[in-house]
């Protein structure tokens, strides 16, 4: 009896938490499907929102997406393509470089390895804002401003946090596996590719998902380095869309566009949830 009661309490708390977290999403969904008048009134506080719009306006979605940018549809598709290119390349770059560097820190003994590792960790303490101007100047000197390169290339030089995670994980892989592979004829790079990477799957899942979500939603980076509409990523495009359609009468379109940009993250997270949680738990137990 006591146990049942406890269970009920647990579920009630979880349910309340889930509701609070889902409320904004639900709100966006409802507003995006309302007529312009009702949506504007709802924002202004004129009317309350119903649980589901009386007549859902599915046409809001194509309208919102086609009106992003100056040419119909092109602005959206362009931004989508840019976002996909940047995100995919950054994920690949981060996973490859971080695991490679983590492997080196975990398994290769070299002079100064400890000091270098501490130096790398200390970069995590540096707030990102501090480096904005030097980085901008750096990339400007390279002539990379208004291209996707400043967003993509740094990923191939590792990420301190993920290097740390990979290093911790790789330290747990028995040394004898690597020695066996050495005897089997593999070089360090071969060992990294054929043994370390496959065994690091849980860390890679975390690294990939975190990076994906971060980069997909990143607004600061693209805003600083990209100027023209052709180079804009979804986050930037959405922002110009907001500037253009920020009024009360267009709020339904803004919500529709925002929801669409969120979809990939939601899908990715649900698809990789199992891996992801396993990896987090393992990280917690094994340090």
């Amino acid at each position: 009896m006591n146990r049942t009661l406890w269970k009920i309490c647990q579920y009630a708390i979880l349910l309340a938490g889930a509701t609070i977290l889902l409320l904004p999403l639900w709100w966006m969904l409802v507003v995006s499907l309302e007529t312009p008048e009702r949506a504007g009134a709802a924002i202004a506080g004129g009317i309350g929102l119903s649980l589901w719009p009386p007549s859902p306006q599915w046409g809001n979605y194509p309208q919102a997406l086609s009106e992003m940018g100056s040419v119909p549809w092109q602005g959206f598709l362009n931004a989508l393509a840019n976002s996909i290119v940047v995100t995919v390349l950054v994920v690949i770059g981060t996973v490859l470089s971080s695991s490679l560097v983590g492997f080196a820190f975990a398994r290769i003994r070299f002079r100064g390895s400890r000091g270098l590792f501490l130096l790398m960790l200390s970069t995590m303490m540096l707030p990102g804002q501090v480096t904005i101007i030097p980085l901008f100047l750096f990339f400007r000197n390279l002539g990379w401003i208004d291209s996707l390169l400043p967003l993509i290339v740094p990923a191939f030089f590792g990420n301190a946090f993920f290097i740390f995670m990979y290093r911790q994980f790789i330290t747990q892989i028995p040394e004898s596996l690597l020695e066996a592979a050495k005897v089997d004829g593999y070089t360090l790079l071969g060992i990294w590719w054929r043994i370390i990477l496959p065994l690091c799957r849980p860390v890679t899942a975390i690294c990939a998902v975190f990076t994906f979500i971060y980069v997909w939603n990143d607004f600061m980076g693209p805003l600083i380095y990209l100027h023209s509409d052709e180079q804009a990523t979804l986050a930037v495009a959405l922002n110009s869309f907001r500037n253009q359609y920020g009024g009360l009468e267009d709020v339904h379109l803004l919500m529709a566009a925002s929801l669409v940009t969120m979809i990939p993250c939601i899908l990715l997270f649900s698809a990789s949830q199992r891996h992801f949680i396993e990896g987090l738990a393992r990280g917690a137990v094994k340090g």
Binding site: L177, A180, V183, G185, G190, P198, L199
Partner: protein, 392 residues
């Protein structure tokens, strides 16, 4: 197949820790050599230096008459079996076995076959050859039915077989084993021991095997190398090492239960014969050792050692001679047909191994007389070295 030659091989960690100290060893082609010693004696380090997983601090290692000091492991034509098996967890048994062969393929490119048909045929033939070799190794070890399974679904014994198989498919010149059986239970260990012996007989390959278990060493080795603190104590066949240990350490380390050791002094009795004095007991040395050697010992402390099976229980009626010890039984440990009697004599524990038949009348707490069979005794100088006996 190859010989392995170690000349003055040393490994120094930091500036002072001598893990391996000037080891000389020459292993002939097809020999089964076992390095044995307590943990930390440098046996594993020596093996890892042969494998190329550790650098040498001094000396040279040659495999098949080629000095390999600076040759990476993959080019030494060796295969190694690790203590924890070191199977690749993300690959199934077949992939584990072929992993090393895949690396050594000549026709690797997946793409070239698309336009180059000769290449495609050669590549295909190579693949078939690898499959055939893996199948043959699996058949030898009786793991054919496990080929598609991942290592986590295998028992300890099966993993061990796969680990041996991985070495086998490579057909190396030298097999290296680093305590491969120490993670198995006793029964399986005995079984695998026999199989390794049989495998060695059929392959006639050079094998170097490291273990801390002296019984395992005795049962497997053609020749064994006893090590302590990085220094080779003795090299010889198991029979030689058991029968005439070179020093006190070897005598105490090899053999179960361990040799009984009595520390005492040499003296001469009224007739001029040499006697050994240990606490209140005096033994006649019965001319086992050369008089010159004995007199050279002077008044130093010497150790007389006798294996438990050479300490005979004297039945109650029999006459005591000059080589007898009397004490009382503390405990009796029975192992089927054999039993170890632990007795206290002159305040020291001694062990006598006897057959259970002669045991019937003896109980714990009884007084007991043990006959010291002097013709099987060993004598060690104060520095531990053995006094040689012409009758060994």
């Amino acid at each position: 197949m190859a010989t392995v030659e170690l000349k003055a091989v040393s490994k120094i960690y930091g500036t002072t820790v001598r893990a391996v100290d000037s080891v000389d060893l020459s292993i002939s082609d097809g020999e089964f050599i076992v390095l044995v010693g307590p943990s930390g004696c440098g046996k594993s380090t020596t093996l890892r230096m042969i494998a190329g997983l550790e650098d040498l601090s001094g000396g040279t290692i040659s495999i098949g008459n080629r000095i390999v000091n600076d040759v990476p492991p993959k080019d030494r034509n060796i295969a190694m079996v690790f203590q924890n098996y070191a199977l690749y967890p993300h690959l199934n048994v077949r992939q584990n076995l072929s992993f090393g062969l895949e690396r050594r393929r000549t026709f690797k490119s997946r793409w070239r076959g698309i336009w180059d048909s000769t290449y495609r045929t050669q590549r295909h033939a190579e693949r078939l050859a690898i499959t055939a070799r893996v199948d043959a190794a699996a058949r030898t070890l009786g793991i054919e039915q496990l080929l598609h399974r991942p290592p986590r679904e295998l028992s300890g014994g099966q993993r061990q077989r796969v680990a041996v198989g991985r070495a086998l498919v490579r057909d190396p010149a030298v097999f290296l084993f680093d305590e491969p059986l120490s993670n198995l239970d006793a029964l399986l260990r005995g079984e695998m021991r026999t199989e390794l012996r049989i495998l060695h007989r059929s392959l006639r390959a050079t094998m170097v095997y490291v273990t801390h278990d002296q019984e395992e060493a005795m049962s497997l080795a053609d020749r064994m190398v006893v090590m302590k603190d990085g220094v080779v104590q003795q090299i010889g066949s198991p029979a030689e090492i058991y029968g005439s240990p070179a020093n006190r350490f070897v005598a105490g380390f090899i053999g179960t239960p361990p040799m009984n050791m009595f520390e005492g002094r040499i003296a001469r009795d009224s007739t001029g014969d040499f006697t050994f004095h240990w606490k209140e007991s005096v033994f006649s040395l019965c001319k086992r050792w050369v008089a010159g050697e004995l007199s050279a010992l002077g008044h130093d402390t010497v150790t007389l050692g006798i294996r438990p099976d050479r300490l005979r229980i004297l039945p109650a009626g029999e006459n005591k001679n000059s080589c007898c010890l009397t004490g009382h039984v503390v405990t009796i440990e029975r192992y089927g047909p054999l039993a170890d009697i632990v007795a206290v004599v002159n305040g020291m524990r001694v062990i006598s191994r006897t057959s259970t038949d002669t045991l019937a009348a003896i109980c714990e707490g009884d007084a007991i007389t043990l006959e010291f069979q002097m013709q099987f005794a060993h004598m060690f100088r104060a520095d531990g070295s053995a006094v040689t006996s012409p009758r060994n």
